[in-house]
Subunit: 252 residues, 2 copies
């Protein structure tokens, strides 16, 4: 997969959404430095610009020197977001696992990531906005590598009750809970068909407590499990996002 | 997820299938050294033994010293393999991506992994059995971390035509091909319902060539794509395994 990532992947730059327009576009300083020192590009080179919010443009480098860089953009394309809108809420994990999630959930076209502070989540303390900024930066790097144009929006970690309170009315709600004994994810899927937006909760390493699961169910979440397997928390989050993105039957 | 991994994960040891039986079981030398030097266990400690082929036993350490270790096993449980049997054939990737796949496909309960040498696969040369042994070792480590009892069987990388020739008659066949324009994975899923065994092909970074895809289709593989996203090759393999494991509707 990922043929768009071959070759051109080295010439793809991330710019601020407000900066991406037709005409002359300045490269952010770190992108210009990378283009000059690492990629050794020179004016005239064809490049791709993305804004992380679904817009993509082809351009030609017009300037690249110590003071920065710029390119000329002729047309800007806008990729429609995939349906359904997917908000994934994983229990907060340690850095390597969250870093992997930030990159892979970007590829999987998750729209929003809301890490949750739960009883078994590690670390207990937030780290707050600096973590969010790190994930957003990793998502940007993932975009440049894979060739997609839209990154998830990362939200600061928040306690489970706050996340439950943030769910808008009318959206489909799924809870992955390993102690769920009745429904598998496959059995829960038909109930999601046709949803315009899905919020999905996945526990941290160690899972949800029964009280947390009961609280989510009381908030309208349908509980289900992944049968036959024992997954690390980050793998469960990736599997859940994969299934929602790729297994929901399209409308007839 | 993964509650079985909490706490006991540090006391889980992998032993040779032939060695796992009721009674006195010797720990492999490296496992005994890990138990003694890193975990600082002592005789009397409760441990879990797995053989990577679905058998799991609780035991009590009876001996642990410089010469090795042993434990007393009372009962050995055997976990039935999940259905359908899943053989995943990814285009060969560079080491970090293959290492990630080895661990995550283990969690996802893939039964067999057959890396393929294709036109765009990197590296072109096999590295053969030493690579297979590395993946098998990483799978064993993943088992000890996640708490599952069964690792995939890894097969030496082989050219695509050899893999196609190895497909047994009567199994379901799926090809993930990014240039497929008609069917999405979701549309192909109903055709897999009820299959006892599924072979699934995923391209390397850069995908399959059209000739390779045509060859697979001629061998009975149903071609489909993952819509709306651009995935790294390893992410596509994980997404495909997730969907097959967790989204196929169970028999009514």
């Amino acid at each position: 997969m990922g043929r768009p990532g071959i070759g051109v992947s080295l010439r793809r730059f991330l710019v601020e959404p407000a900066a991406l327009c037709e005409g002359e576009v300045a490269l952010p300083p770190e992108e210009a430095a990378h283009a000059r020192k690492v990629l050794r590009l020179t004016p005239g080179a064809e490049v791709e610009l993305i804004d992380g919010q679904g817009r993509r443009a082809r351009g030609v480098l017009t300037r690249l020197d110590k003071s920065g860089g710029a390119c000329r953009v002729e047309t800007v394309e806008h990729a429609a977001p995939p349906a359904p809108r997917l908000v994934l809420c994983p229990g907060l994990l340690k850095s390597p696992a969250m870093d992997l999630l930030a990159a892979k959930l970007t590829e999987l076209a998750v729209d929003q990531v809301r890490p949750m502070l739960t009883q078994r989540a590690v670390p207990k303390e937030g780290g707050g906005s600096s973590k969010r900024e790190r994930w957003q930066r990793l998502a940007g790097q993932a975009l440049k590598q894979c060739g997609a144009a839209r990154a998830p929006e990362f939200v600061d970690p928040a306690p489970l009750p706050e996340v439950l309170a943030a769910v808008p009315p009318g959206v489909a709600r799924l809870l992955l809970y390993e102690d769920e004994e009745r429904a598998s994810l496959a059995q829960a899927l038909p109930g999601l068909a046709g949803a315009g937006e899905i919020w999905a909760l996945v526990g941290p390493e160690g899972g949800f407590t029964s009280q947390e699961a009961a609280r989510a169910v009381a908030a309208g979440f349908v509980s289900c499990r992944l049968p036959h397997t024992i997954l690390r928390a980050e793998t469960a989050a990736l599997a859940l996002a994969s299934v929602i993105r790729f297994a929901l039957q399209p409308p007839c």
